[in-house]
């Protein structure tokens, strides 16, 4: 029997599932049953790691050495736990949703789709439980590569173009920036293990090289979508919606911010980051990204593109929180708020954004509508979908009773106590902008009249549609409920986040 706190099962499950999916490729029903069972098992196994993560007594699992002296290591800790929980938990709902979506739209190559999805989840789990930077890098790239066939799933010119931008930016950044950073850390310290409090403090690197190293890490992890390396995210929206939903709102982008946070906490550590002003710099860059991306989102008519830019901006909330934490320091009471905000915003945004994407896909499946301007009056036809969309939108804005409120609360508290006028201003402007680009959608959906037939001859959708297929509706209702439930029960995420701080001080 595997001891508690050993993430091996969580890692193996998606791989075994992937094999099962290939074997059952000819039988769609069985294949999708395999996906669902794998997802459920994965979530179950991941939940089993919870006590170890909370007590901080997780075992260190060392696999083979990839390069002599450089082993693949897994270790469960709080931050990774949050990420793994949402990735595996939402995979269940997303699989359900995928079944409805892929069948509803008669997509081709569905076996390849489910296979790549399982491999991507494997990459996500590996990233979550990585015990050193090397392992994190390896699985980060697994995630990049396995999602490429998903992004280009449609195989048309648009998809190729999108895939090119997607892979071009992610791979170039990780190989051109993150990889040298990884080697540099190894060269300076002699190992790249994740240690609370950071490992670079004793390396004796001058400030300028620390700053350069931090720069390489933050931009090398292009999945965090810090401007100007955010272009891949809108480009990836050519993918089928389940992909956009789970991967480009949850697994991939969260892998990015998660990795940045992890590198900041476990490689640099507060003391080192504070020395060269890395925190301030991150706060400014993130603030810039938040506002700019929100502005761009305002002018996007394509619903998924609008959501994508919203994601870019929301991701930077997490980076902003990390930046604030560094500025405040771990000893201060309030510094903890910022770090908790970063950790809690990962599930908070995940639940909200996946709901929004599910809703967008639901609209597309039912009526083949992709533009915001086509959504007039759709709320009456698809009450469940648009209801969930409303919940997601509120979560993005940060209004109670949704998940976004919790993280924004922590974030504002942190910013206030830090006396960072810049951060507070950014958060306020951004909240207004969020409202400005989400509320009109809701207004159109619920309060505008549906246009007559001849008005939109271009739209080939018929007007006699109702809700999308039931798996879709179930899935999006589920995620909307999750977004609300996090408002009432945020304790699990906060507790996990606290483990970072407790052992820090």
């Amino acid at each position: 029997m595997i001891e508690s706190g050993n993430p091996s099962l969580s890692l193996m499950t998606p791989l075994v599932g992937a094999a099962g999916i290939v074997l059952c490729g000819r039988l769609p029903n069985l294949r999708e049953a395999v996906t669902l069972v794998t997802a459920a098992l994965l979530f179950y196994f991941t939940m089993g790691l919870m006590p170890a993560a909370l007590s901080g007594e997780a075992v260190r699992v060392e696999l083979f050495e990839m390069v002599p002296g450089m082993p693949i290591v897994f270790q469960v800790e709080g931050l990774g736990m949050i990420y793994a929980l949402i990735a595996s938990g939402l995979w269940i709902l997303n699989s359900l949703y995928s079944i409805g979506y892929m069948r509803g739209n008669q997509e081709k190559h569905q076996t390849r789709f489910y296979l790549c999805f399982a491999v991507a989840i494997f990459g996500a789990m590996g990233t979550a439980f990585a015990g050193n930077l090397f392992t994190l890098f390896v699985f980060y790239e697994v995630l990049t590569l396995s999602t490429f066939p998903l992004v280009t799933h449609k195989g048309n010119q648009n998809a190729i173009q999108g895939g090119r931008v997607y892979l071009g930016i992610l791979a170039s950044a990780s190989i051109g920036l993150l990889f040298p950073a990884l080697v540099w850390v190894h060269h300076a310290v002699g190992h790249v293990d994740f240690v609370l409090g950071g490992i670079l403090s004793d390396a004796g690197l001058p400030n300028w090289s620390l700053a350069l190293l931090f720069f390489l890490c933050v931009y090398g992890i292009a999945k965090a979508a810090l401007m100007p390396l955010h272009r891949w995210l809108p480009a990836a929206m050519v993918a089928p919606t389940p992909v956009s939903a789970l991967l480009h709102a949850v697994a991939v982008v969260k892998a990015g911010v998660f990795s940045v946070t992890k590198v900041s906490v476990y490689i640099f550590g507060y003391g080192t980051l504070g020395e060269f002003g890395g925190g301030d710099w991150l706060v400014y860059m993130a603030g810039f990204t938040i506002v700019t991306a929100s502005f761009i989102a305002l002018f996007q008519d394509n619903l998924k593109k609008r959501l994508a830019y919203s994601t870019v901006s929301q991701l930077s909330y997490i980076l902003l929180a990390v930046g604030l934490w560094v500025t405040l320091g771990p000893d201060s009471e309030v510094g903890q708020f910022a770090l908790i905000a970063a950790a809690v915003h990962i599930p908070a945004h995940a639940f909200g954004k996946i709901t929004l994407f599910f809703a967008a896909g639901s609209i597309y499946t039912a009526d083949h509508k992709t533009e915001v301007s086509q959504l007039k009056g759709i709320g009456r036809r698809m009450p469940w979908t648009m209801g969930a969309f409303a919940v997601g939108a509120l979560a993005m804005i940060g209004a109670p009773p949704t998940s976004g409120f919790i993280s924004k609360w922590f974030l504002l508290t942190g910013a206030w106590e830090a006396g960072s006028g810049f951060a507070i201003t950014i958060i306020m402007i951004s909240t207004l902008l969020n409202a400005a680009y989400f509320l009109p959608v809701l207004w159109q959906a619920f309060f505008c009249k549906e246009p007559e037939h001849h008005d939109d001859a271009s739209s080939h959708g018929s007007h006699d549609h109702g809700e999308a297929p039931w798996p879709i509706v179930v899935a999006l209702t589920g995620t909307a409920l999750l977004a609300i439930s996090l408002f009432f029960y945020p304790d699990w995420a906060v507790e996990l986040a606290r483990t970072l701080i407790q052992s820090q001080s």
Partner: protein
């Protein structure tokens, strides 16, 4: 048992002599598949022998010999041809470095021979198939001989044996494209100039030391008083470096390579890309590290800077060139020159990490590029050519071949879990250790160029529409697919766990740097 001991003792000679004799016998194997089957057998046997030879070299560690009062561990196996003493006869000498290279050359020769069957049947007329395999085997004999010999002049002779046969093999591509002839002649002229420079370099070394035995040469060079003042040695190093650079196609002396690889018969491209230039690099290691000594070659002559510059420019310029080509074979050819740049980079850094990276990349790149050229050969076999438009949409038609090609491409880029990543891990680390920032930048820019040139092809493979010829095509025959997959599969395996390749390269690097004078930093 008696026989086994006899074989073990004579193994270094047998590795060369058996294929030499068997290669000539190939002429009498008929015109059908006889020559191919015979060659497979021979090279399989040679491969087995190199495995045994590697074992023997590994076992040396376990057999400390009493040398006077101290116990010393022998580092090499010596074999004296015809039992002549080393001053007069030819010594065959196997140590940690060339044992690996022998293994790679023989292993890849075996796989490409198996692979070549169908492809040669299509590309070479039946009237000269037996001659093709004779020449083919002689090429491999030459390469194995260069690697195993301990005699400097012998290196030259065997180099010319392998080169002459390679020119012939390339020229045999004329039945598919007549430009093979001009490519071959260009290579012949440049290659002969390069070999002549090497001959000159050896001549000057002979003048200084009075011996041709490499080990003795190295010893008397190390015993030289005031080597920095020795202008003869300087000239020798200069000639050797230029000649070797030509042979291993180091930028800017690579002009012969792209056409030669593009128009050669498919199997020949695979063999050459995986072995010929690698043996060139091996010669450089042998001459620079074990004979002349890196301290003189790199520090006194300061060739290190020059080599680094050539390597860096090679990586950048040739990776860029690869992005602009339309013939996929030529993309790979330019990429090969760039990869030679990576290998020479580690070589010229003259640190343990650098040398280890260089050796790791020799192994990895041989597997990757050999496998990719094999995949392209399968395309040529089925579709008729290897331009970008010919690969269009083949992802569904030839899934295994194209899957192997894609995996090889990822490895060229250096994605984790592929062999290319391991090489880059070592090389970037070596550059950082040496404190040379700009080299790291060049390495990574080269990787990013690689993303572009690989992805151009991959996109076309998987998203393009198949052309008329491709529509009629199907998966290549298994004798072609299986060796391809073994090569690429091995490269992936060495990417997932480099314990063997990495550990061995590090040990070899240590051997090269401490056993010989280079260990002492000035």
């Amino acid at each position: 048992m008696e026989l086994m001991n006899w074989i073990d003792f004579h193994l270094p000679a047998l590795v060369v002599v058996i294929p030499l004799v068997a290669g000539i016998l190939t002429v009498f194997c008929g015109k059908r598949s006889g020559p191919w089957a015979w060659s497979c057998l021979v090279h399989g046997f040679v491969f087995a022998m190199t495995i045994r030879l590697n074992q023997l070299v590994q076992n040396l560690k376990l057999l400390p010999v009493e040398d006077g009062s101290t116990l010393s561990v022998p580092t090499h196996i010596s074999y004296f041809m015809g039992s002549w003493p080393r001053q007069w006869g030819i010594e065959l000498r196997v140590d940690a470095l060339n044992a690996i290279i022998l293994l790679i050359v023989a292993g890849i020769a075996f796989l490409t021979t198996v692979y070549s069957g169908k492809s040669v049947q299509q590309e070479i007329g039946s009237d000269r198939r037996n001659w093709f395999y004779t020449v083919w085997t002689l090429t491999i004999v030459g390469l194995l001989g260069i690697t195993i010999t301990g005699d400097a002049f012998n290196v030259y002779v065997l180099l010319e044996i392998s080169s002459l046969t390679i020119y012939t093999l390339i020229a045999m591509g004329k039945s598919r494209d007549r430009r093979a002839l001009t490519a071959s002649l260009k290579y012949l002229i440049l290659g002969s100039v390069g070999a002549s420079f090497i001959l000159l370099g050896i001549g000057y070394l002979l003048m200084i030391t009075g011996t041709l035995n490499m080990a003795d040469m190295g010893e008397s060079l190390r015993a030289l008083e005031n080597p920095t003042e020795n202008r003869t040695l300087l000239v020798a190093v200069a000639f050797l470096l230029v000649g070797l650079s030509l042979k291993m196609a180091l930028f800017p002396l690579h002009m012969w390579l792209p056409n030669a690889y593009t128009y050669a018969p498919s199997a020949v491209s695979a063999l050459l890309s995986a072995t010929a230039t690698k043996v060139g690099v091996y010669m450089a290691f042998r001459f620079i590290y074990t004979i002349i000594g890196p301290v003189f070659s790199f520090e006194t002559v300061s060739s290190s800077e020059l080599l680094l510059l050539c390597a860096t420019l090679g990586i950048l310029v040739c990776s860029y060139n690869a992005m602009t080509q339309d013939n996929v074979k030529r993309i790979l050819a330019y990429s090969s020159v760039a990869q030679i740049g990576y290998i020479v980079l580690g070589f010229a850094l003259h640190t343990q990490m650098g040398v280890a990276g260089s050796i790791v990349h020799i192994i990895n790149h041989a597997l990757i590029k050999g496998g990719m050229f094999m995949a392209l050969g399968a395309v040529v076999y089925r579709v008729g050519a290897a331009r970008l438009t010919d690969l269009s949409g083949l992802g569904r038609i030839m899934p295994w071949t194209m899957g192997a090609f894609t995996a090889g491409g990822l490895s060229l880029i250096g994605f984790p879990l592929t062999a290319g990543f391991i090489s880059k891990w070592y090389l970037v680390q070596a550059c950082l250790e040496a404190g040379r920032w700009y080299l790291v930048v060049a390495l990574l820019v080269g990787s990013i160029f690689a993303i572009v040139y690989v992805w151009r092809v991959v996109e076309i493979i998987y998203f393009g529409q198949p052309n008329d010829n491709a529509c009629k095509a199907k998966e290549a025959p298994w004798t072609m697919v299986l060796p391809t997959i073994i090569m690429i599969g091995l490269s992936l395996y060495f990417g997932i766990t480099a314990e063997w390749t990495g550990g061995m390269s590090e040990a070899t690097a240590q051997f090269l740097l401490t056993e010989f004078e280079g260990g002492m930093q000035p």
